[in-house]
Subunit: 113 residues, 2 copies
DNA sequence: GTTAGGTACTTTGCAAAACATAGTACCTAA
DNA sequence: TTAGGTACTATGTTTTGCAAAGTACCTAAC
């Protein structure tokens, strides 16, 4: 149990929300999403993100179209489906409630002696 | 992918923080911790909590003592060790930074058309 | 005292999800 | 035509929570 691992652990289960939020700003392909998350200090590895995008596409939350690239193979540009937008809205609400619930627990202070 | 599962997913990775926070208020045994978390709408099942308490004890974050009960078998009363208190302090800081990072991502709004 | 029921803790098997890493395919340019 | 970069895919492992069954202890009813 290392503090260095804490953020990675916390991110579990919230990654979906993060990806949906990024895509709510408009379509993007995997590297775009990855860069945005990493800029926000929400480290995620390539393999995880691709797997998540595929899962969400299969769940009907995302759709993609192929687009040619000028410097490499074609890219999958993802965007929210109506179901995805609805799901994001619900997740946002859950996130808010969740943060409140955790913050309602006692914050750190020295144990009573 | 169901909204009903969202909170459970989010809780992953933050459970450690929650348990440490509860114990920072003083020693408690499993059922105490469970009840506190459930009161806070942070649902967790018995098996998960016992496993987590054991993991954290083995990691040196918690210690316990046996105490007789008037109505059943003896209980393990857990409390933070100095290492646990230090770890909690670090996790608290990580939690704050994490929430800021997620909230810095765009919140929901209709995708630009 | 022996049995029934409740409480507390343990064990085992399973599933979901992220990680690590390697692999395939496409494109440009030397 | 080959080297290197970019984009996506596939595979196996680990972590961690869940589900459910199991063990053990204690009280109380009979």
């Amino acid at each position: 149990m290392k503090v260095s691992n804490a953020r990675a652990q916390m991110r579990k289960g919230v990654l979906e929300l993060c990806v949906l939020r990024v895509l709510s700003k408009g379509e993007a392909y995997a590297s775009d999403v990855l860069a945005t998350l990493q800029d926000a200090d929400l480290i995620v590895v390539e393999g995880t993100l691709y797997a998540l995008l595929t899962r969400m596409k299969n769940a009907g939350l995302l759709a993609y179209r192929w687009e040619e690239s000028k410097s490499g193979p074609p890219r999958k540009y993802y965007e929210l489906t109506p179901a995805g937008a609805e799901f994001l809205s619900a997740l946002d609400a859950e996130w808010t409630r969740f943060v409140r619930a955790v913050d309602a627990l006692p914050s750190f202070e020295a144990p009573e002696s």
